[in-house]
């Protein structure tokens, strides 16, 4: 068959299949990410249907998917939110990192995959899915809850941590020498700081440069700028994803909102292709051998994330129920775990089994997270009843109408 025809047919079939999966996910109230991964496993290497024509396009498309995922993440937050978030939640952020990076790294070491794989798996288990967490919070009507800012602060910290982690990872994966690695990390830290300063001081200038009242012009300018910045960052070995993330942060205000609106459908398309391609490159037959470790990791890192949220919310004077809600809201892992694993697998610097472990782990956590968040309150009620404890919420220690000064919040 003609190559173009084959490419179109395969691509169409895959997207149609993803559409069906997405509809199914919506029906049962699930994040579509695990289903996209399953879709990818179904096709491709070792799957039921081998694909040939679509590989070349989908590789590029999945790169664009990563760029758009990170660009949208950057657009979510203003530089001011990131800086205040960092100031308020650095301690919780560090606890989060230590508790959740360690299990992944340990498992990679136990499996004998070496230090590079440990760095990768640590990242995979560390980063919560801010997409799934935000959806859980708004679906369960928790925007007004007092523990929600603590949860969001941790997510903000994690996303900022990515801006440091990804360049380090890229340098290590590229096999740079220690000095060379330090160089790129230095460059990226400098660039991150510079972008934050620019975004804080002259965010409106950056926004004005890319802004346009014409949708078409705006879209082209945005995507062009994002790919250019991502490509340049990649050429400097800083990681394309981080370049896009920083551009997203630098764009602010109404321009950022419009940009998010214009880019959302494109992000959905290319990110879906990214997840599928990751699944495509994973051989389903390599999953059974790592299934035990994936289950173990899922169990351990669910507990460590709950502990993180529990502790962080407790510091804000939140009661037991709220602390349980905060912990479980953070459990889901998703898009960024796959981004990290995807970078590693694409570089060829880690064993192929890592893709299988990361896929299985994310499949488990993307499903487990929202479920745990829903059962957190009933489960706490049950625990309290079994322990014979009186059900208690937090106490309000807020300023009252009688003019007491506001403090602590």
């Amino acid at each position: 068959m003609h190559t173009t025809a084959l490419t179109l047919i395969e691509l169409g079939a895959i997207l149609l299949f993803l559409g069906v999966l997405g509809r199914l996910a919506g029906r049962i109230g699930l994040s579509p990410i695990p289903l996209y991964l399953i879709g990818g496993l179904f096709f491709g290497q070792g799957g039921f249907i081998e694909l040939q024509g679509v590989i070349e396009f989908s590789e590029v498309a999945s790169e664009i998917g990563v760029v758009l995922l990170l660009l949208m993440l950057g657009l979510e937050y203003t530089a001011k939110e990131l800086v205040t978030g960092l100031r308020q939640s650095w301690l919780a952020g560090i606890v989060d990192f230590v508790l959740n990076f360690t299990p992944g790294a340990l498992v990679a070491v136990i499996l004998g995959w070496g230090p590079v794989a440990a760095l990768v798996m640590g990242g995979v288990t560390y980063i919560s899915s801010s997409g799934i967490a935000a959806k859980v919070i708004s679906d369960l009507g928790r925007l007004g809850n007092r523990e929600t800012p603590a949860v969001l602060a941790i997510l903000v910290f994690e996303d900022l941590a990515m801006a440091v982690y990804l360049p380090v990872l890229t340098a290590v994966l590229a096999g740079l020498s220690f000095a060379g690695g330090l160089g790129t990390v230095g460059i990226s830290l400098l660039v991150v700081t510079l972008v934050l300063v620019i975004a804080l001081r002259w965010g409106n200038v950056v926004s004005a440069v890319v802004d346009s009242s014409d949708r078409e012009v705006f879209l082209l300018t945005l995507i062009g700028a994002a790919l250019l910045v991502a490509g340049l960052a990649s050429a400097l070995q800083v990681s394309a994803a981080v370049g896009a993330f920083l551009l997203g942060i630098a764009i602010s205000g109404a321009t950022a909102e419009n940009a998010a609106r214009v880019l959302e459908p494109l992000r959905d398309l290319f990110a879906a292709i990214f997840f599928v391609v990751f699944g495509l490159n994973t051989d389903p037959m390599s999953i059974p051998p790592v299934l035990g470790f994936a289950l173990l990791l899922a169990l351990v890192t669910a507990v460590t994330k709950i502990a993180t949220g529990w502790w962080a919310a407790g510091r804000q004077g939140i009661g037991r129920l709220g602390r349980a809600r905060a912990g479980t809201a953070l459990v889901a892992r998703g898009e960024f775990s796959i981004v990290i694993a995807g970078l590693a697998v694409a570089s060829g610097a880690v064993v192929a089994d890592l893709a299988a472990l990361a896929t299985t782990y994310v499949l488990l956590m993307a499903v487990l997270g929202p479920v745990l968040a829903r059962v957190a309150e009933p489960a706490m009620g049950l625990v309290d009843r079994l322990a014979g404890r009186r059900r208690e919420g937090g106490t309000l220690r807020l300023p009252r109408a009688d003019g007491a000064s506001p403090e602590g919040l």
């Binding site: 009507g141 925007l143 007092r146 009661g319 129920l321 309000l396 109408a401």
Partner: protein
């Protein structure tokens, strides 16, 4: 009154007060313009018993309903020395004959003898609106007059 403002990164801003009865009541203003009315749970003040999405129209109307009582009470107090004069509020409903029309078009003063002293819109008070003030649905009109005059005003606003 202390309004507690909490930034929700990536979502918007939450503004709330703590009532005398110890409940948190507030609004989450999402960045895309959506508003949520939140009310904390009695047993668990960290959680919310309700998080109700409001359209801008609905939010403005609730703001008017809550804000107008005070204004009416104040006006009633001021008119206490004038027997027979009272204060009443009328809502301009969607599809009302004066939705989108100028105040002058109602000719309320000449037809009923009652006078419009203020319009509440989106929680803001427009005192002594001029005849070319344009009415819109959701506006709450505060009218002062005799009880017959107020009945006539109600009839005008309802039926044109």
């Amino acid at each position: 009154m202390n309004v507690i403002e909490t930034r929700l990164p990536g979502i918007g801003v939450r503004r709330e007060i703590v009532t005398g009865s110890g409940r948190r009541v507030g609004i989450v203003a999402q960045r895309d313009g959506d508003l949520d009315l939140i009310i904390s749970k009695a047993g668990d003040p960290d959680a919310c018993v309700a998080s109700i999405p409001l359209t801008p129209d609905e939010a403005a109307t609730i703001g008017n309903l809550l804000g107008s009582r005070q204004l009416v009470a104040q006006l009633t107090e001021e008119h206490r020395d004038l027997p027979g004069v009272s204060t009443r509020q009328f809502m301009i409903e969607r599809g009302s004959p004066f939705d989108g029309h100028r105040l002058a078009d109602t000719r309320m003063r000449s037809r009923s003898g009652a006078s419009l002293v203020a319009v509440l819109r989106a929680g803001q008070v427009q005192a002594s609106p001029t005849p070319d003030f344009t009415l819109a649905s959701g506006d709450l009109l505060v009218v002062v007059g005799t009880s017959e005059g107020l009945d006539a005003a109600a009839d005008i606003l309802r039926n044109g």
